[in-house]
């Protein structure tokens, strides 16, 4: 089945009216997607640490149990850290959602095929690891329900969204890791975070 969704439309729909949502964006295309949807102090876009986006979401979800946390990452990034799904499955934070924007490609390195292009089912891995809800989406009509789940459904929740393998303009967030960390903490914790 050929995917029809456009990644930028999906990420924009999921981040619409995001309220107090805390977002970790996996390195590469999903970081550019989140930036294209609007750079935000409460988005932590990764420029490295491939494989760690879901774990950062877990740490954030455990530290901030009253806030909703969303990890948006790519299939290649998720595949590098599959163990994180097992670790999240043990902790079971109800406020965490992990969404994989799955184009079946390593987009930053020449669009080579990933394992998902050959049938590896990330939602099945998440389900087997203990995620409460693990679904695979391929239609625009399913996005509103996913956005609702991200904002309120007790999790951990997981979704793979199948998107077209397309090259889109690169929209860069700030690069300075110290700045990205500090602005996130200040927006979340207030100026007192600077003195911690």
């Amino acid at each position: 089945m050929t995917a029809t969704l456009h990644r930028r439309d999906v990420v924009s729909a999921l981040l619409a009216e995001r309220g107090g949502l805390l977002v970790v964006a996996g390195l590469g295309s999903t970081a550019w997607d989140c930036t294209a949807a609007g750079d935000h102090d409460l988005t932590f876009p990764l420029w490295g640490a491939m494989g760690q986006a879901a774990m950062m979401g877990l740490g954030l979800a455990l530290a901030q149990p009253q806030r909703r946390v969303l990890v948006i990452t790519g299939d290649g990034e998720m595949l590098m850290g599959l163990g994180a799904l097992a670790t999240i499955g043990v902790q079971r934070p109800t406020n965490l959602s992990v969404v994989v924007i799955d184009n079946g490609r390593y987009g930053e390195t020449g669009m080579q095929e990933t394992h998902t292009a050959h049938g590896v089912d990330l939602a099945a891995v998440a389900r087997a690891s203990g995620f409460v809800d693990a679904r695979t989406l391929s239609a625009a009509g399913e996005l509103a329900a996913l956005r609702t789940a991200i904002h309120g459904q007790p999790g951990p929740n997981f979704a793979t969204v199948k998107v077209r393998a397309e090259k889109v303009p690169i929209i860069l967030p700030p690069r300075d890791g110290g700045l990205l960390k500090a602005r996130f903490r200040r927006a979340l914790l207030g100026e007192a975070a600077d003195l911690q």
């Binding site: 805390l22 970790v24 932590f44 990764l46 420029w47 490295g48 640490a49 491939m50 494989g51 760690q52 986006a53 879901a54 774990m55 950062m56 979401g57 877990l58 740490g59 954030l60 979800a61 455990l62 530290a63 901030q64 850290g81 163990g83 994180a84 097992a86 670790t87 043990v90 902790q91 890791g177 110290g178 990205l180 960390k181 996130f184 903490r185 979340l188 914790l189 975070a193 911690q196």
Partner: protein
């Protein structure tokens, strides 16, 4: 052989106290025999959450997310795990995330397993190459002060700091002793 008891110093209990005093409420780990008692103390402490990892690298992601959310964490592992975290140490440095790591050494002092020796011998150099501050603890009485100092350095200095607990402290094992644990 139980080195901490033999020396009359319950260093895991002291380290647990140092973690509490520093406000650490999240403890992630890949198990190691040398960390058994400290892990159990942290698991039994209702003010701490223990997170078992599939690989040490996950602990760096977890610590980053926790710090973004305002929580202090610590990572417990064996020296073999240092090889699994090298790339992500770059993110810790770039973002200046406080990362105290308490590492029990293998392949270092009287090791019985030759496969442990290369990574154990390379551990301090690998950490230093990635900008981690390394503080060895060679005797049981040196462990808790080293951890206390490392916690201060990490959280006051927004730095990655590793305490390397020598096999002299943990106790040298044989194949038979390891199998009996």
């Amino acid at each position: 052989m139980n080195a901490p008891r033999a020396a009359g110093i319950d260093w895991p209990l002291q380290v647990h106290g140092a973690l509490k005093a520093a406000g650490v409420s999240l403890v992630s780990y890949v198990p190691d025999a040398g960390h058994k008692r400290l892990i159990e103390l942290c698991q039994a402490d209702p003010s701490m959450r223990s997170v078992v990892l599939t690989t040490e690298e996950e602990g760096l992601g977890l610590a980053t997310g926790a710090w973004l959310g305002g929580e202090r964490s610590v990572l417990l592992m064996q020296s073999s795990g240092v090889g699994n975290v090298i790339n992500v140490l770059g993110t810790i440095k770039e973002c200046r995330i406080p990362l105290p790591m308490i590492i029990t050494m293998r392949g270092e002092y009287g090791e019985f397993n030759p496969w442990q020796i290369p990574m154990g011998q390379a551990t301090p150099g690998v950490l230093e190459a990635m900008g981690v501050i390394v503080q060895p603890a060679l005797e049981p009485q040196a462990v808790a002060p080293a951890v206390d100092a490392a916690l201060r350095l990490a959280f006051n200095g927004y730095a990655a700091v590793a305490v390397l607990i020598s096999q002299r402290v943990i106790g040298i094992k044989s194949f038979q002793e390891q199998a009996a644990q």
